[in-house]
Symmetry: D2
Subunit: 257 residues, 4 copies
């Protein structure tokens, strides 16, 4: 059982007819339906959207979330810095984070990566092929083939300004000539992060069965594990093992971290 | 030829007698002397300190810096956020960064890592042994043995809350019972980052010949390379290769990144 | 449900009284008991030993094994190359492999790593502290603290001549002054490999509850996943996408891979 | 100054007219000319070919080689295992190795990787675009753009059965629909290994200026560094630090590694 929260800024679906046709209940509803198909119905899925108080991400909601999925695009800059810090702290404390498509430019992803997370793009409804380069990874479970196609996709191309991912799982080919590291994992603190690029508001990509499977696998993979105490730094006295000869240390220099 | 800037907050040396005895001209002067011994005198070394305007890190100084070394401790919170952002941008654009000892908790290091960078510590003047686990790395060049000793050191212990380093070069053993990933590299954007933990204001560690050698090696390693254009993300039109059939795309959704 | 096979060369227990006292049914029996405690009894555990035909590792046994654990020491060179190749092929096809302690020098581990896998050692019954440096990893699940002690251990020290592990989970501290990367993961082909160093025939380390937990976690982690077809290389004709203009290619050069 | 040896099996150039037209003095001569242009003439370049005694790779030649480049294809199985072991030992001791194109299936590369190193391929003279995903890497030095084109190339496609590379520098796009991790680094022992896929006997790819630049950069990058003693494993007695209470250890169990 996983407690899942999907954050969707929920802007395009309310302002644009063609997006609404593809995702009448919002991108989050389609993503949730895909998750339920693969993870079963015993895993509760909540929604959080930009216009809610605290963007729907109160301390309590986050405390009750095992994995948070993030979809944003037009509203990135409207996300409050305080909420970004709260989400970052929760990730470092163990909550999983699945960042989808244009979420690459979200404040929370850039905060956790330390880089610009920028990339090249083109919205030309071109063909994308998603190739698996790590076939034994749990996130690739059940794909059955080393490659699948998306008939019409937004191109995301290199250079993608992220830290070298801990694991590179998917690389995408685009008809127009680019490649992209489209499925990447990162660990930050005790939290696991999965970035997956396919998915766009004007294409029915979140209805694609392989995309749904990968997002579900990524959500399962990002679930908290470990359970080690991981506190703030602290002074460790006395030492675990005997120290032969302590030098004199000027106490006025002792830090207060 | 490398253009080097050493940032030192320069607080302890001016307020504490025992620190002044070890580092009469400041930690930065001792670090600079070590660099000159290994890199030669043709590489200019500047200093920047907390109390200077802009902490000595003007846009021009940074533009003329190939590698920045960072030593801070008591004054981390006094570093202006605007300067932190400026340094971060310069690192992402290719400037090398060598973060020393208590600099693990600096704003700039935490900003680039995305994690708390916290650790355990103990100031008990205990023995530290620095072991090399990547003997072919240029930063280990010339060490001559797989291990060296520091007679009296501040203990830094795991868990060290950093992303998994791109390369782990040194692991330290402490008399009191801890281990620590004491030499780590990271790449962020086009910049190379080297973190090295040995070094403390109340111990003469920056006079240690192996420590000096490693800091010099790390500075050389962090020098900018590549030279590729790495712009902000941008829309790539037209495509490099022909795209068979473009779907209709609603132009009102086109992003303005 | 996991189908587990434990390979133990089973030499010391039959020739040495002090080893027999610690492991009267063999190291494999103690390891199996630990696994059962954590993985439950529904996961069948088989044994394979050096003196059996094919060392107990027939094609059928391997085909029915999800995860193979490997303990060897005095008999490394007596393992047949043909069996080593068979195990390697099974790992590349997806079988998990957990290599224990002196198994670092086994033919199968060296074959999969490509390096000597050599290290420093000392058999002085000294204290070992195992520190976790990746607290969110499933293999650290349930440890509850960032460190645990082994009262008397054989020292294994750096430099450990392995490829940089995909994930570094544990680093050990030894009373006599060394450190060691004691818990490492690697992926080769579709197989997952976990190396864990604590454990020695003359110490009761395989009775240690934290060691048992980690071996069980590692066994679970190494279970096959993915399920992608991963065949031998092959010629891909025709192309997935149209190729504008084919040059003339001299057919006599076509390789036969 | 680097001492370079280029191994070329030198088969196709002597048996096939169209290959001879592209590489009249052999692939090795063209590769050497590219190296000289970038590394200068003070770095001596030797050649070694399959038909020479010991394939031109005597113990002395290897001892005098800093970086070995390897091109093979039709003759992989004719390389003597003893020579493969000799080259492997030299790499582990610090010699750099640059493996080119079809060298992915060479005995030496498979030996060092531990995997099959197999891939998909197609010889259709299609367009390849080589994208840089690590723009700060020394091997990308001087490329000037994030992508370059090869008009007619042999396709190499994923899944490429290698261990996750230590650094992924280039990813290739192919007109027919595949992607490939075309520039990868690995470290094994003290040796650095660079694999670069573009290059084929029936296309003039080794005359391409960007390909020549990358091979030269990779050769420079793979040069030995470090200089640490890295011996065979050995027993470390006495301990560096005092050990409180030694247990009795049965001497008959001491290993002879």
């Amino acid at each position: 059982m996983l407690r899942i929260t999907i954050f969707n800024e929920f802007i395009h679906e309310r302002t644009n007819e063609s997006v609404r046709k593809l995702y009448p209940q919002g991108l989050h509803a389609t993503i949730a339906a895909g998750l339920k198909q693969h993870l079963g119905t015993e895993s509760p899925v909540r929604f959080a959207t930009l216009d809610e108080p605290q963007h729907g991400l109160s301390t309590q909601v986050l405390a009750e979330t095992d994995v948070l999925l993030w979809w944003g695009h037009a509203g990135h800059e409207r996300v409050e810095d305080e909420i970004v810090t709260r989400v970052q702290d929760r990730v470092l404390a163990g909550m999983g984070l699945v960042v989808l498509h244009s979420g690459h430019a979200s404040k929370i992803f850039r905060r956790l990566m330390g880089t610009t997370c920028m990339l090249r793009w083109r919205e030309a409804a071109e063909k994308e092929r998603v190739w698996c380069v790590d076939p034994s990874h749990p996130i690739a479970e059940g794909l059955g083939d080393e490659c699948f196609e998306i008939a019409a996709s937004e191109m995301y191309g290199e250079h993608f300004d992220i830290p070298a991912p801990d694991e590179l799982i998917f690389v995408s080919w685009f008809e127009g000539g680019e490649v992209f590291r489209s499925g990447c994992t990162f660990r930050r603190g005790k939290g696991k992060i999965f970035y997956f690029s396919p998915g766009h508001e004007t294409f029915p990509i979140y209805h694609h069965p392989q995309v749904q499977r990968i997002i579900a696998n990524g959500t399962r993979w990002a679930a908290p594990s470990g359970g080690l105490y991981l506190g703030q730094g602290r002074n460790i006295e006395p030492a675990l093992s005997p120290i032969a000869a302590r030098h004199q240390v000027d106490a006025s220099l002792h830090r207060a971290k």
